[in-house]
């Protein structure tokens, strides 16, 4: 039991903001990086409200006209509907399918467990085009390519493994004796799951679900290969608009980009209430909160 919490290495000096030139250089580089990101976001927002912007620091005038233009011309109601259905659908299905597997992988040892692990890891390891293109071909053959269902199915491929990976540490930290205790009290298997495991796993399910939502909304490749002209997700619609510019006013494209940005931010800040930033990239539970 060492009672010290904060431990600084070194003497009384050399702490806090008294830093070396090298450290200041790093801070400057970091500030430059973040400044550029902020500027990139700012240009998109500013341009979406501009009447015209050819050179100069800011647009010549401001209007919200392009939002209504984008809303109609890009068919955004449909696009947002598709995006929402796909994201929520994928999250729900991935949780239903992935959670039991995560439980088994966390709790049990059985022959072939390593193979099972590899199977769940591999979809996250190979580039999405590698399985995306043949999968899209198969889905078109089955007649669901180019539809909302096809986009949903394709997005399940990285999502089920994501749930398994994100959830296993949550299962591992639940004391196995709790399940034994529930059984000793006379609970049946289904009751153990419903009354003991599910409530304890709720934070894990929530964060895994949010991770899948964030991933699916941002997933470009798989949605792009499987999306038809009427069933695009927002990121795919944005890509198409950017890919064939000229025929549409750039402000309208930026207006769509702003809408996408707002959707991402809303989801992100919801997610950050339940998961740490680290968890969002590494899918590992951050215990050092």
């Amino acid at each position: 039991m060492s009672e010290e919490v904060a431990v600084a290495t070194g003497g009384r000096v050399s702490r806090g903001w008294v830093a070396t030139p090298g450290r200041w250089l790093l801070r400057a580089a970091l500030a430059f990086f973040l400044l550029n990101i902020a500027a990139i976001v700012a240009t998109v927002v500013l341009d979406s409200f501009g009447t015209r912007w050819f050179g100069g620091w800011a647009p010549h005038g401001y209007t919200s006209h392009y939002y209504s233009w984008a809303w109609q011309q890009f068919g955004l109601p449909r696009v947002l509907f598709v995006t929402g259905v796909v994201a929520v659908g994928v999250a729900v299905i991935a949780l239903l399918v992935g959670a039991p597997a995560a439980y088994i992988l966390a709790r049990r040892s059985f022959p072939g467990k390593r193979v099972a692990w590899a199977m769940f890891l591999l979809p996250l390891l190979v580039p999405p085009v590698t399985y995306g293109i043949p999968l899209a071909t198969l889905l078109y053959r089955l007649g669901i390519g180019g539809s909302l269902l096809g986009v949903l199915v394709a997005n399940l491929v990285p999502s089920v493994p994501l749930v398994v990976l994100a959830l296993t540490p949550y299962v591992e930290q639940i004391d196995p004796t709790l399940e034994g205790a529930a059984r000793a009290c006379g609970a049946r298997t289904s009751q153990v799951f419903r009354r003991v495991l599910a409530p304890l796993l709720l934070p894990g399910l929530l964060s895994a679900g949010l991770l899948v939502l964030v991933q699916t909304i941002g997933m470009f490749e798989l949605s792009f290969f499987t999306a038809g002209p009427t069933d695009q997700t927002l990121v795919v619609a944005l890509y198409y608009a950017l890919w064939a510019p000229g025929i549409r006013p750039p402000q309208a494209i930026d207006a769509m980009a702003v809408i996408y940005m707002l959707l991402c931010l809303a989801l992100l800040f919801t997610a950050l209430r339940f998961v740490s930033p680290t968890q969002m990239v590494a899918q590992v539970k951050d215990n050092r909160k």
């Binding site: 039991m1 009672e3 010290e4 003497g11």
Partner: protein, 373 residues
Amino acid sequence: MTRRQTDGTFEELRLKEISRHFGRLAAVNKVSLSVRSGEFVALLGPSGCGKSTALGCVAGLIPLTAGEIWLDDSRVDTLPTERRDFGMVFQNYALFPHLTVARNVAFGLEVRGVKRSVVAERVEWALSMVQLADYEDHYPAQLSGGQQQRVAIARALAPHPRIMLMDEPLSNLDAKLRLDMRSEIRRLHLQLGLTTLYVTHDQEEALSVADRIVVLKSGQVMQEGTPEEVYSRPANSYVADFMGYRNIVEFDVTEHSDSSVGLSGHGITLRGSAVGGVAGPTAVAAIRPDDVVFGDETSANAFPLRVTAAQYQGREMAFEGELPDGQILFARSTVRVQPGDTVAVNVPADRVLVYATDDRAAKSPTRAKVPAS
């Protein structure tokens, strides 16, 4: 890059009113202490008393908020940890998992730029000191807890530190191993004459390894003295409680001359010897369970005890009894007793230590009154 290798000789390590605050909390509060060369000093106290923080301050791992640390005529608290030439053994050992045992032990020498042949020699010596000569090529993960502990000690010994700092080195070991390592640490100290500052919460451990014990409470020194002094003459009721005086009971003072104090209350009268000044109408008596002995009803300090609970503990019984008014007293006996028995006991007057009443003792849970049944 070769750095000065100290010969390790110095007269005295002095902590001058060192303090360390964490926010508003004073983890270490104006602690002064001097340690002579070759001495083994234990910092003793319950968890949260600031003993580990104090050790961290000496090591330079925790910056001081106030105060100074001197080694003879040179000030060390302004030096970073790595320039102090102190060896440290951590509670969780902190053995580098990516290095073999030999490389772990060699670490402190390698970073000082010591010649390879010397390093090899020293590693061999340090490992033989802790009887782990055959484990050079093992990785820490392959060792048992006790072996890891020995490697940690060897690693701290190898650079010939001026002072050895040990932070609860035995608290992660099981009971039997703890006893073995305790005598091992004592043996090493005697053999090498290394100045040692040792942190522990275990009073028995402190008594058996240290030349001198410093008892801390809330970051302040409560008592400083040899193990005998601290054990038999605790300076206050707090130290007494910590040193195993389980019975801390408040009495009325009936008479008071020099060190001898007459007490009454809870239906009995008692004579005790005052430690520090006893003033005021009440005082606190501290009695070890072992000092409550059977028989001799004619002695001045004899009183009856009604046994309420008894536990068989092998060689003796530990039991709880009630004084006539229901006050609980803990005692031990080699004779078998049973709940319901009333036994005649007495406590030698020089083993009843009387302290001035203080708030802490008044709130002590051991004094909670149990309704007489």
